[in-house]
């Protein structure tokens, strides 16, 4: 373990430098940092209350007082977008986090447990991911009713099979390695092998996959909220802002134009960062994944 840590420390420093040297990775890092800061600092940097009404000031185009203008209820759009970052990233990180944990546990069980259990689990993962995601999601929403909790459940259900599959493959490959066999021969228990040896080695690829899934999840949240099937108004989800702006498209096009920008930049940022990370960590796999 200690030798592995020694070996990975300089490599990790190299990752940072390589990422900064790649213009796309750097752009991704900058964008993601901006959105993370927006999400974390929303209460302090948002100029107005995101749900405070001021009907007299409705549909104002961008001005010095309202940098991004106001919506149909006179709410400040910039403040709503900043708080929307908190909502979008909060939901995305929570749900992929839960999905990642479930995928990790099931993947380790499939990869390290008895073979019969493995074949059942793999069949379940594959079957779940071979259903068209959107219809599966809409069925779950109909049953549970729209809302933030439902949204998180939907995202967890559609994303964990891919994570579990990845962990399983990694675990299978590792558990035949010489150093694991040596540990076993020396009498190490299952717990020690899983927690000291398998876990630290399988988490890295999972983190990359999760990173690359975040833009997809942000998109799904915004899309479902746009259809009024996600986060409930008046919460400032980017999807809600788009949907409210869409209703006044001809009267005040600035609402949708402004609300689309953070969505485009956030998905671009996370995708560039994910691509950059993957190219740096696994140059052989460049251009292979994305579906």
């Amino acid at each position: 373990m200690s030798s592995a840590a020694d070996a990975s420390a300089p490599a990790r420093r190299g990752i940072g430098r390589a990422l900064l040297a790649d213009p796309m990775g750097l752009a991704g890092l900058v964008l993601v940092t901006i959105f993370l800061l927006m999400a974390l600092l929303a209460p302090w940097i948002a100029p107005y209350d995101p749900i405070a009404l001021d009907v007299k000031a409705k549909f104002q185009p961008p001005s010095a007082a309202h940098w991004a203008g106001t919506d149909h209820l006179g709410r400040d759009l910039l403040s709503r977008i900043i708080w929307g970052a908190r909502l979008a990233l909060g939901i995305a990180i929570t749900s992929v986090g839960i999905a990642g944990a479930i995928g990790l546990v099931l993947g380790l069980i499939a990869g390290y447990g008895p073979r019969w259990l493995d074949s059942i689990l793999v069949l379940v993962f594959d079957s779940m991911s071979s259903l068209p995601m959107i219809f599966f999601a809409l069925a779950v929403i109909t049953v549970l009713g729209p809302g933030t909790t439902t949204l998180i459940i939907v995202i967890v259900l559609v994303s964990f099979p891919a994570y579990a599959r990845l962990i399983r493959t990694q675990t299978l490959a590792l558990s035949g390695a010489d150093y694991i066999l040596a540990e076993k021969a020396m009498g190490a228990g299952t717990g020690r092998i899983i927690f000291r040896h398998l876990l630290p080695n399988v988490v890295g690829p999972l983190v990359i996959l999760i990173c690359m899934d975040i833009p997809v999840v942000i998109m799904l949240e915004a899309g479902l909220s746009y259809l009024n099937l996600g986060v409930k108004p008046p919460s400032p989800s980017w999807g809600n802002i788009l949907s409210e702006g869409y209703n006044a498209l001809r009267q005040a096009p600035h609402v949708v134009i402004v609300a689309g920008i953070p969505l485009v930049l956030a998905t671009l940022g996370f995708t560039f960062l994910g691509e950059g990370l993957r190219d740096v960590l696994d140059p052989r796999g460049a251009g292979r994944r994305w579906g």
Partner: protein, 316 residues
């Protein structure tokens, strides 16, 4: 490989049945039974009872579920309690719109993707290749419904070149084509980038193959090698991706149809989810999942025929 595909198909169907059964069970847990909802607040208890009986709601739930799947096997997806019309009829009415949108979007994405992917291979490692790479990733990651809204503002509202809503007049092919342009653009654009990358990667692998080296040794032009010889081999893996990708095309179509108020499966199901119109949601999910599984299985079989390596494995 094929046996596994069949087992996977079987389990997908099983999961679908579980999801449907769960939905059926939920109908009983949500407040307000479907019969009272359908008849409105002024219906008499006798009327409600009669409808409940007609809908089979007085039977034990297990009987109802078996009855539902029995009907599905006979091609009956049930009756919409709101509009009182058969669900299958409503689905078949709008399905061609969604299918045309999906096929046209995939079609233009495939043509553009192949051209750009080949261009990237011809100019590989030049600035043009790198620019195409960045552009591809960018269009892949931008949400299709945002593209749809921006396209709608520019081309339908400001320039007024194309219609903003609908699927065109029935019988007027010109108006139907004009109504298709913006939605197909929005649904397909991400796939242009994705396919361009896929073709480029697959092609670069093929370019190392012996028959390409031979062609090059004979002094063939690079462009001829790429388009005539490499593309033929490089396109095979794209087929399976296209089939699986049809699911994500349908997913984009759900959002984009809603932006353009285009009648289709997307507008049908999202309207039904909002109203908790269970028969329509269940029918549409069943129909579309069945259709999707059919496409994926057909693609698996097609690849098995096209790719000699897979074909030989299947023969043993």
């Amino acid at each position: 490989m094929l046996a596994y595909a069949i087992r996977r198909l079987g389990l997908s169907v099983l999961i679908l049945i579980v999801v449907m059964t769960a939905m059926y069970g939920m109908v009983f847990l949500v407040p307000g039974d479907p019969a009272s909802l359908a008849l409105g607040p002024r219906a008499t208890p006798e009327l409600k009872e009669a409808l409940r009986e007609r809908m089979g709601l007085d039977q034990p739930i297990l009987t109802q579920i078996l009855y539902f799947f029995g009907n599905v096997l006979q091609g009956d997806l049930g009756i919409d309690v709101w509009s009182k019309r058969p669900v299958l009829e409503q689905i078949l009415e709008v399905f061609p719109n969604t299918l045309i949108l999906g096929v046209v979007a995939l079609g233009w994405a495939l043509v553009m993707g192949i051209l750009l992917g080949c261009a990237a291979v011809v100019w590989r490692d030049s600035w043009a290749d790198r620019l195409l790479g960045v552009l591809s990733v960018s269009v892949i990651s931008v949400p299709s419904f945002v593209v749809a809204i921006y396209a709608l503002i520019v081309f339908a509202v400001w320039l007024n070149w194309l219609p903003a809503i609908g699927a065109g007049e029935a019988g007027d092919l010109g108006s139907q084509i004009r109504a298709l342009i913006l939605p197909a653009f929005a649904v397909g654009i991400g796939w242009v980038g994705y396919l361009a990358r896929l073709i480029r990667a697959s092609m670069l692998e093929v370019m190392e193959a012996p028959h390409i080296r031979t062609a090059r040794a004979f002094g063939m032009r690079e462009r001829d090698i790429v388009f005539r010889h490499a593309l033929r081999v490089a396109i095979v893996p794209t087929i399976s991706i296209l089939a699986v990708g049809f699911g994500s095309i349908l997913s984009s179509a759900v959002f984009v149809e809603s932006v353009f108020s285009r009648p289709g499966i997307g507008t049908l199901i999202t309207g039904a989810v909002e109203k908790r119109n269970y028969p329509v949601v269940m029918g549409t999910v069943l129909f579309m999942t069945g259709f999707y599984l059919l496409v994926v299985t057909a693609a698996d079989l097609l690849i098995a025929r096209l790719d000699p390596r897979v074909r030989d494995v299947l023969r043993g």
